[in-house]
Point group: C2
Chain length 195, copies 2
Amino acid sequence: MARTQGSHSDITGPRILAAAEELFARHGYAAVSMRQIAGAVGVQAGALYNYTSDKQSLLFDLMQTHMEELLAAWAEESVPGDVKGRLEGFVRFHIRYNLERSDAVFIAYMELRNLTEENFARIEDRRRAYEDQLEGILKDGVAQGLFHVADTKIAALAVIAMLNGVLTWYRDGGRLSLVEVETLYWDMVRKAVGV
Amino acid sequence: MARTQGSHSDITGPRILAAAEELFARHGYAAVSMRQIAGAVGVQAGALYNYTSDKQSLLFDLMQTHMEELLAAWAEESVPGDVKGRLEGFVRFHIRYNLERSDAVFIAYMELRNLTEENFARIEDRRRAYEDQLEGILKDGVAQGLFHVADTKIAALAVIAMLNGVLTWYRDGGRLSLVEVETLYWDMVRKAVGV
DNA sequence: GTTTTATCTGAACAAATGTTCAGTTATTCT
DNA sequence: AGAATAACTGAACATTTGTTCAGATAAAAC
């Protein structure tokens, strides 16, 4: 056998990335083999190498794409206006976006140590850019005398860490709806920055 | 060659656990081989099996020990008194203790998916017990009308997630001292619970 | 000083790993 | 229709994996 019926690169390519994303998120990068990914797609392991140069760049591509899309989505959703509203927008956006793409977020936070030094630096750069978005809001709030935070850098990291925690317990159809979760966290963030 | 000079089980045993802890924390459980652990101890791979039945229980032992020690340390440090003081005590304890044992904490949070279903349940039980300690403080504060939190369960998870974030960026000799970090986070937690 | 026991080596095992590639077949182009 | 190309198979590769175990040597017990 060789080329299979209905095989197209623009179909198999995304399916490989999707399978890798789910498996990496569930079992971890190092614990997932190329054969498992291939099996999930319904293809032999060798076929993966028409779409990726190696396992490492499969991981990097997933992370890179996720970070770019995250930044792009925030750039589109972010609206200028009063700082309090901007902060609320960030909190709600972060929770919602990250829950929608929990697999990608999980990977982006847990598999950093499996990246090449060079790839790590690139991802880290994008993460810092995202953190800077939040810190920018906090700085503006402080400058306007509205927020009271002693260290905007630390506060930004603390808020993001707190929001990321949602990923570890939130389940669809659980006790709280998405909007309720957003509101609970916004309430805590709002008070933490002193407004 | 066989038994090496100065070989004692009460020395090699702890060294194996220490080496495994450091390697698991740095590279991840699945990415570390038994031969790497043995190499770090200065012993052949087969010798590890005098101290552990398999790789899985090496991981579980590390997690189990960590969780028990964490709970014991908190039980000793925790003092009854006003809720505000108890909450401050928890925040400072959590940051300090977790930074001192960052390798074990990292493993306990990142390698849950590599545990057997049964082992996972045991660790999860201990983690919940720890979260309950914090939630208990929050509940007391709410009952006394001192804290204003809408959902004590979520608030406990949010606070712990926020505090754990310190692990990802704190470095000894960095911009902020340990006490400064504790104080910054306590300030944010204090405000977040509305006091 | 001799025996017993604890501790480790070194080789071996089958299975699994990432990756390559010649060959085969479906699709697309002419 | 046939020729060219894209997509995949299946086998092979050198390593590495977790784990076992007979044998060897050091430490402890007598």
